[in-house]
Amino acid sequence: MEIPYEVTARRDTGLYNAKIGVWLFLASEVMLFGGLFSAYVFLRVGTQPGIDNPWPMGLNVQILMAGFVNTLVLILSSVFVVFAWVALKERKWNVFRNWMIGVLACSALFMVIKAYEYNSKLTQHHDIKLLDNSILGGKILEGTDKIRFDADSVVVDFSGSAPGFMNQVESDENIEFKIETGENAGKTVKLSELRSWYHKEHVRMMREVADMRMKQRKGEWVDGTDKNPETKATLSAKPFRINANPRKIAGRDEETLNFRDRTVIKGKLVDDTIKMEVHSLNLQMVPLQDQENVMAWKLIHAATGGDEIKENVLAVRDEKVTYVRSHFPDGVIPVSVLQGPFINFRKIHDVPGGEAHGGDHHGEEPKAAHPGDHGSEESAEHGHGSHGDIVIEVPREQTSFVTNHGPRAGTYYAIYFTMTGLHGLHVVGGALVLAYFLLFGKRIFLKNPEHLANRVEVGGLFWHFVDLVWIFLFPIMYLM
């Protein structure tokens, strides 16, 4: 069947149908991203200084070079798309093909860089917020964000959910648990079978509870004589190490680990100290007059044996305050600036003393801190990391929030991942459509080149829209 108005324009609209279709689609896309941009402004304007986690300045927490290169890559791809369309108008298939390969290469490069950025945020960069609201930024050393615990017995609660500790056992060995209580006392169950055993027992318990209730309803239940359903079982084993994810833990003491799924593990706490390579210190949530006494200094002192970094960070802060004050005619600094990152956020390597511990930073010269200097983006976010940075040890009880730079780190990161993730999906979708034209368009081109030109124009319109969204995303996420 011939579909009308694929190539020729309708008389009433003056356009071929696909073009009206794509513009209507783009209108809905404008509303989608418009809603998200509006949400961004809401969240940013609504951030309460001193209460909410501070809204970071993009320059301080993003890999600027990655965002910058991605912007250039998307602009180039937009240029390539229009040239591909022109090539079709000139009826030059080979030229079209080359430009289109360029577009797809750009989209692939964009996604690779984006994946690198995401990976960096999720695995290489962390924040530890201490109880006094000072925030240490850096990289938590592998494994030290877990609660290390030597266990020898487990109490499983069948009314909870399947015990999650099984995935957090350090040993590869298939540990054998001996059931200590209930009808199955004396039997053994291996770690690998624990989940299926739990589910069986869970079903058994549910049945017994149902029977009990039925008996109670009929008046056949005799308290003290009839046996209550077993809702728990105690298992013992040779001591084994658990590296517990603190987010799964409801509470702990030196001898007990209470999981949120109601499993209780007995044994001995080995270590619950987080080790972190410190890259930055954020005192935005601490009043200026209290900044000399924050807990972070004690931790840094314990790691370095001196107060040089503290003194220098505070000296740089005072310099910045003086510098900022000189720019306000009456010498009064607005609260938003006084609590802002310019005065209160410091990269450790940018202050004298901080670089002394930095060791080899790919041959970078230590930077002298001076007002107006944002320092090296890569040195903090990108992190030349494990090159002799100061490694501090933070007891977990001194922390109020430990996180990577994923969406849970704060509203900024949440909206960053939402918007850039959705944009990334659009890049993938657009690239797939354009790749289809490249791979399967030759047949249409040979039959009616104008038809393919129209299709590429429509695909190109979407691609330009994706570029257009990024033009706004880049400055608001990476620079402001």
Partner: protein
């Protein structure tokens, strides 16, 4: 829409020029991000400037790459509606200023001293 070889050649020149302009303006945006022209710290003036550059860049993309400089009336009508709704979405931020929860935050802040 361009059909003659001359028109297409002229379009290619325009696309190249706009591409270069976009690359240059991206560099300018980054430079302004580092060097705030309106003072020591980033203020609403710097943010406005950054967004103005973004608007100029996006206008170039829309007008030249997306051919909105010579499009049919129907497309403009669709976009006019879109713009009105988009503006509505952006104006929602004023609710943030009228939001009474701010008072609750102030109370918390005062209690924290």
């Amino acid at each position: 829409m361009a059909t003659t070889p001359e028109e297409l050649a002229s379009h290619k020149k325009a696309y190249t020029a706009i591409g270069i302009a976009l690359l240059v303006l991206t560099c300018v945006t980054v430079a302004f991000g580092f060097w705030h022209p309106f003072g020591p710290v980033m203020t609403w003036r710097d943010i406005t400037l950054g967004l103005l550059i973004a608007i100029v860049k996006s206008s170039m993309v829309a007008l030249i790459f997306m051919h909105l400089n010579h499009e049919r009336g129907l497309i403009y009508k669709i976009l006019l509606f879109t713009f009105c709704f988009f503006l509505g979405l952006m104006l929602l931020i004023f609710f943030a200023h009228a939001d009474p929860i701010r008072e609750a935050f102030d109370a918390i802040r005062n209690s924290l001293g």
